[in-house]
């Protein structure tokens, strides 16, 4: 169904009365996913947001327990309102399905499941990839709909082709007629051609585990968490005590304290082994466990790496040896 942007805005303003809405918002010149109160705040023309939508499901800080004088009480998950993630790019929506495999697997994490359950994802097909994007190299597509409950395909004239893809999507757009959910081929072809960067994952990555390459290429790494915190699939966390609470918070595998045990032993003490861990987790270990790579090619790690060493460069560099 073709809808105009103001129709969508009106629908969104209506929905925001009952739902908590996360949408792209421009702050100091950069676009972030934030809670919005009205459609007027939304940055429709964004490319890739700085943060990914993962924080809607794995918040940077989440209180698990609150201590009381007699023991502890568990804390309910956020507020009970249904939530809408609006205008998620295909890479981000797909990232959520990758986290699902970790958090909804054989030992489901109830807090994640609850947030996931009550959230509807409305995606926005991508017509503005930049030089760091490589979704087509890792099984994604700028016109992909994985993880979305409904998708909007920009027609280029301020209108959108709305596709409802699930019951949750149907609940948000009850008036949309049923169709097969297929994205027009012309759009797919053009969008995919616009993704110019390619990354070739070596089939025998494991053979390079002992390679000196990792020492060489990790030299410039600062061991910071810019890549991991912005990544839509990085999900490592820590559980810490804070005041009267037990809190789950983001953590990153490059950090000096991530694998350091209380007695001082650090099983990944060297910088190169941490750098390698991040690459292998995404391109070897995760695929071995779940059958797909844990990277959606959003390019954030390259875009924001302080020393210009994104994961795409790390993989391509390995190929070039």
């Amino acid at each position: 169904m073709i809808v105009k942007q103001d129709q969508l805005n009106a629908r969104l303003d209506d929905l925001s009365k009952t739902m908590e809405v996360f949408a792209p918002v421009r702050e100091r010149g950069r676009v972030y996913f934030r809670t919005v109160r009205s459609s007027g705040e939304i940055a429709w023309d964004y490319g890739v947001s700085v943060n990914s939508i993962k924080e809607c499901f794995l918040p940077p800080r989440q209180v698990f327990l609150r201590y009381t004088s007699g023991g502890f009480e568990t804390v309910p998950v956020a507020n009970g309102r249904p939530r809408l993630v609006f205008l998620a790019r295909p890479c981000d929506a797909r990232g959520v399905t990758i986290m699902d495999k970790v958090f909804l697997g054989d030992r489901p994490d109830e807090t994640y499941a609850a947030l996931r359950e009550r959230t509807t994802i409305v995606g926005l097909a991508c017509d503005r990839p930049d030089e760091h994007c490589f979704c087509t190299s890792v099984g994604g597509s700028p016109a992909g709909t994985e993880g979305m409950d409904a998708a909007l395909i920009p027609m280029g004239d301020g209108s959108y082709d709305l596709k409802v893809l699930s019951d949750k999507g149907r609940a948000v757009f009850p008036d949309a007629p049923a169709d097969d959910g297929a994205i027009p081929e012309e759009f797919v072809r053009k969008a995919e051609a616009a993704v110019r960067r390619t990354v070739t994952i070596p089939e025998t990555l494991r053979d390079s585990f002992g390679s000196d390459y990792w020492r060489e290429v990790s030299q410039s790494c600062l061991k910071c968490g810019a890549c991991a915190h912005l990544c839509p699939t990085c999900h490592c966390f820590d559980i810490v005590e804070e005041g009267d609470c037990r809190v789950r918070c983001w953590d990153y595998c490059q950090s000096d304290t991530f694998t350091k045990a209380a007695a001082g032993h650090d099983h990944r003490g060297a910088k190169f082994s941490r750098c390698r861990q991040r690459v292998y987790h995404k391109f070897d270990y995760y695929p071995e466990n779940f059958g797909i790579v844990a990277c959606v090619g959003c390019g954030r790690c390259a875009r924001h790496c302080p020393v210009n060493s994104g994961i795409s460069d790390l993989i391509n560099g390995l190929n070039e040896r």
Binding site: F64, G71, T74, R107, I239, A262, D284
Partner: protein
């Protein structure tokens, strides 16, 4: 809302001071109706409010009625808080987690247990279990090393094992760690192991100790001609979640918390430099 990360409550029934910095806590779950089934080699997450949560292997065996035991070495904030606990205090407990020892594969084999320091803890549960059905197993040998004679844990149990005819128990301390009345060996575990020269034949070795000791002991077993499939070790990398989500304890694609902590030497060989 209750979640995977909500601990259950356990009461400290008694505390044994093993060494100057190791204590063994006997714990009983507050809600006894809720069963706590585990196999030797599994671990739990123990927590003290406002201090935090940390990983400890279960040092007792399932047959020990109504209690489970954990040995805690004082090294950081959480273990410090645990050491401050008095009997009858409450702790949080999550678990049991991990795979535990493959009891079925061990049946009928000659078993060689090699422990170092507090690394005897997971082996102790296993040894108790094995001794409980002694006839199901072949020859048993225990090699245990500690930094000094005073750093040995479970001293009474070590004596009891030494007193048994059907178990060969060899105790050693690191050079310089002996006292004048020390009657055991003096030397590092891997060296003593080489001297003992166990035959690979129908044996399974089970190794647990500090990282450096595991690494050198696995190398010694390799030299002795043991099949890496038949050398087991229990790893204890830093863990947080216990369920394969937080991303710390990878051994390649495997997680110590979920797929381990018990691994065969063959499973971890490739990733040795990342884990030990």
């Amino acid at each position: 809302m209750k979640s995977l990360y909500t601990p259950r409550l356990a009461r400290v029934k008694s505390i044994v001071a093993e060494t100057r910095d190791v204590r063994t806590l006997r714990l009983a779950l507050e809600d006894a109706a809720d069963p706590f089934d585990f196999t030797p080699g599994q671990f739990v997450e123990l927590s003290v409010p406002r201090a935090g949560e940390a990983t400890f292997c279960i040092a007792s065996c399932p047959g020990d009625e109504g209690v489970l035991e954990c040995s805690v070495k004082r090294v950081g904030a959480v273990t410090e808080a645990i050491h401050m606990l008095d009997p009858e205090s409450l702790v949080g407990i999550r678990g049991p987690y991990g795979n535990g020892f493959p009891m079925d594969t061990l049946k009928g084999k000659d078993l060689l247990f090699v422990g170092g320091g507090i690394g005897l803890a997971p082996l102790r549960g296993l040894i108790r279990e094995v001794l409980r059905s002694r006839d199901d197993y072949g020859g048993l040998a225990i090699l245990y090393g500690a930094r000094t004679a005073a750093d040995r844990v479970y001293k009474d149990e070590l004596d009891a094992w030494q007193g048994r005819e059907d178990v060969r128990t060899v105790l050693t301390v690191d050079p310089g760690g002996e006292l004048p009345d020390w009657k055991g060996r003096v030397g590092y575990v891997p060296d003593v192991l080489r001297e003992m020269a166990p035959k690979p034949d129908d044996s399974v070795a089970v190794v647990c100790g500090p990282p450096i000791m595991i690494r050198l002991t696995l190398a010694a077993f390799d030299e002795l001609g043991f099949d890496p499939e038949r050398v087991l070790t229990s790893l204890e990398l830093k863990m947080k979640c216990g369920v394969g989500q937080c991303g710390r304890c990878n051994v390649g694609p495997l997680y110590v918390c979920k797929d381990g902590p018990v691994f065969t030497c063959a499973q971890i060989k490739e990733f040795m430099e990342d884990i030990l």
